[in-house]
């Protein structure tokens, strides 16, 4: 998995690529929680190039959302391939996270 930080229209985007599995989640957590700690709001996550996410990845985003909610920040997930979205849906978390079809939709929201 690779993590790229960028900014569009003044909004911070964390673009992820590859597989988010148990070996990648510690790095994801480090990067995500650093932005949460800085109270980055909103924080957009681009999933377009993510091929797989496991339960450690989901749990990491749960931690991230919990951290964002603590200061009223918005965590927006965007561009999920269908297989990744299915995992979020299965764990009922698609109703808790703000999920957008594309990163442009998330930027314009």
């Amino acid at each position: 998995m690779t993590v790229t930080l960028k900014e569009m229209n003044g909004k911070k985007i964390m673009a992820l690529a590859g597989e988010i599995d148990m070996s990648a989640s510690p790095l994801l957590r480090k990067e995500l929680m650093a932005l949460v700690k800085k109270k980055t709001d909103p924080l957009l996550i681009d999933f377009e190039n993510v091929s797989y996410i496991d339960s450690s990845g989901i749990a990491t985003f749960v931690e991230g959302l919990k951290g964002m909610m603590a200061f009223g920040g918005k965590l927006k997930l965007a561009g999920m391939p269908s297989g990744v979205k299915e995992i979020f849906s299965f764990s009922k978390l698609d109703r808790v996270f703000e999920i957008y079809g594309s990163i442009d939709d998330a930027i314009n929201s």
């Binding site: 957590r29 339960s55 990491t60 931690e63 764990s91």
Partner: protein
């Protein structure tokens, strides 16, 4: 079946307990992303076969290819790596009685990953919720019913998001409603997580509910391998006996029986 990719291939597997042959040079394949049921009567060798598939027993001869690696020829270090891709629900659930359910589920994550404990705690709650045990994190195995123990064992088997999930007689000792609930969960895991699932059982209702593919063992031989539809129409006498729940005919003649009990 022909277009399916094989996740597991067993070639000419022979195994013994002492001098007694248990599996007689059996060969079959397990398709990826499907539920394969290993079916057979008591003592046919199905639990022994399962122990070989998860690398707990070494065969006398033959190959067991998992993702194209022959686990029958692997050293313990190589086996440990492949076992991280496997979750196993044993017949008795095999929970550690001195640990809470949360710690039982967390154990493989603490042993095999570098995840923070805060992440592990969330994962544990996710896994327990998946098997319907939300709120039981702090319970000990002795405080649970048989069905709950099985589900807790399944939560632990899934801790590392395995590619392969093995079940040894999942319905054994469960009431029909609880057993059906477990079957439904097996189907959900296959559909959402695309796991390759292998279930050893002799429970016909379970077979017809969960199986995509069936391998039937009888006296250490594979007597059937095919889809559920092919099983239903199979004319093999042992398959028919099993499906129609017909008892074995007399094994001994009266003379043989006399000689046996007389000790001659």
């Amino acid at each position: 079946m022909t277009e399916m990719e094989d996740a597991i291939k067993v070639n000419n597997l022979v195994t013994h307990y002492g001098d007694r042959v248990i599996l007689k040079s059996i060969s079959f394949a397990v398709p990826r992303g499907q539920t394969t049921v290993i079916l057979g009567g008591s003592g046919c060798g199905k639990s022994t076969l399962l122990k070989h598939l998860i690398g707990l027993l070494r065969p006398t001869s033959g190959q067991i290819l998992i993702n194209n690696g022959n686990i029958a020829a692997m050293n313990e270090g190589e086996l440990d790596e492949i076992r991280k891709k496997m979750g196993v629900l044993f017949q008795g659930a095999a929970l550690l009685n001195s640990m809470t359910l949360a710690d039982n589920v967390a154990l493989p994550l603490r042993e095999h990953t570098k995840l923070e404990d805060s992440t592990i705690q969330i994962m544990v709650r996710m896994k327990l919720d998946l098997v319907g045990l939300s709120g039981f994190e702090h319970f000990f195995p002795s405080q649970l019913s048989g069905g709950m123990k099985k589900r807790a064992g399944l939560a632990r088997a899934m801790a590392l998001d395995p590619e392969f999930l093995f079940f040894d007689e999942p319905s054994a000792g469960l009431d029909p409603v609880t057993a059906a609930g477990l079957d439904k969960l097996i189907l959900k895991l296959r559909d959402v997580f695309k796991m390759t699932i292998v279930v050893v059982t002799h429970e016909l209702p379970s077979v017809f509910m969960i199986a995509d593919y069936v391998i039937m063992l009888d006296l250490g031989d594979v007597v059937f391998a095919g889809t559920l539809d092919e099983l239903r129409i199979s004319e093999h006498p042992r398959v028919r006996m099993f499906l129609e729940r017909r008892p074995e005919t007399e094994v001994y003649s009266p003379e043989d029986y006399f000689r046996f009990i007389a000790g001659d």
